[in-house]
Symmetry: C2
Subunit: 192 residues, 2 copies
Amino acid sequence: MGRPRAFDEDRAVETAAELFALRGYEGTSVDDLVTGLGVHRGSLYKVFGSKRGLYLAALRRHLDQEVLPLAAALGTAGGLAELLVQAAAGFDGGPAGGLLLSAAVERAGSDPEVGALVAEGLAALDTAVARAAGPAGGESAGPAGAEMLAATVLGLRLRARAGVGGPSAASLLAFAGRFGGTGAAGGAEPTG
Amino acid sequence: MGRPRAFDEDRAVETAAELFALRGYEGTSVDDLVTGLGVHRGSLYKVFGSKRGLYLAALRRHLDQEVLPLAAALGTAGGLAELLVQAAAGFDGGPAGGLLLSAAVERAGSDPEVGALVAEGLAALDTAVARAAGPAGGESAGPAGAEMLAATVLGLRLRARAGVGGPSAASLLAFAGRFGGTGAAGGAEPTG
DNA sequence: AGGGTTCGAGAACGTTCGTTCTTGACCGGG
DNA sequence: CCCGGTCAAGAACGAACGTTCTCGAACCCT
């Protein structure tokens, strides 16, 4: 009953996630969202309740549609070296954890609900890294060795986001070699 | 000539750095700054020109008074293991790169001047890590191996800032051991 | 066909934003 | 002594903020 919705809700949340990832929560105004999403103000408040509600939906979607699938894919195929290379390159050039990174720094400390979502995303990253690194990184490096490598991945993403150049491919491979990762284990000859 | 200033400018910038680090640039209002600094609005604009001017001064001070000295200290004394342990623990419990982290994620991409300062801070961190890691991390791990370890330090600080638990001490020592770091090279027995 | 309900369009709300202005207190040099 | 200049105090500015309201159009169900 009633008039059917004229916009794709999931697509709106996806666009909101990109805007929030790009400019942060405080840096993105409701006007920006209304313009960028092409969704009317009233509809936005009817569906999501508030700007924060839309932000939480965007972060939730970011985890479900990008972080978790990416983590799962990296956990099964490819080794540690590939994971580090893709992390430094921005995975596939997309947002690639940009919203997770932004939320972790800007909102996780002051908004408990955001903090819980960020913790969930980071835990998924830990699991993926543990699987990619295999026994070398996940076990012999200590009971929580994967968290160290996950921190490295986060740091690489942060550097890329800040616009500073990342390490060379040779460094990435040499680094992975220290953990006996698949693909580039052993020798660490700078080839470039 | 004229009435002398009644507030400590350097102390005001220091407090501003703490506020900006805690709530970010967009999340800190001029009213917050006026209240927190105890400096009048007019004086603030007379001295720093704008909110952004104060932010740049705070970031500049953060680099000069906290990041660079910390990097220098870590570069000369202590090994990689100690650096990682201190990074995970928040160095000395202070802001410890919080403003650098916040600026890197929130402002470096959209404000070139902030981006330059952030790049300077990250470069200083690279240098410090290279010295702490010694030949093992700085050379044999590749020409830019230190950047990988610096990324790990950044990731650890980000995790701490987001409020998620960091790796155990055993993991940190085992990780450092992979690079032949001073203090905990070799064995990686979980002692806790 | 018509009632009930939800939608999209946009004006409007009060608040807060960053910034500027006005006013009077204070200080050093002639 | 008093004058030029800098200071602190706070009101005030227009713009932008997040949110709410009013209104007519569009649609499903009976």
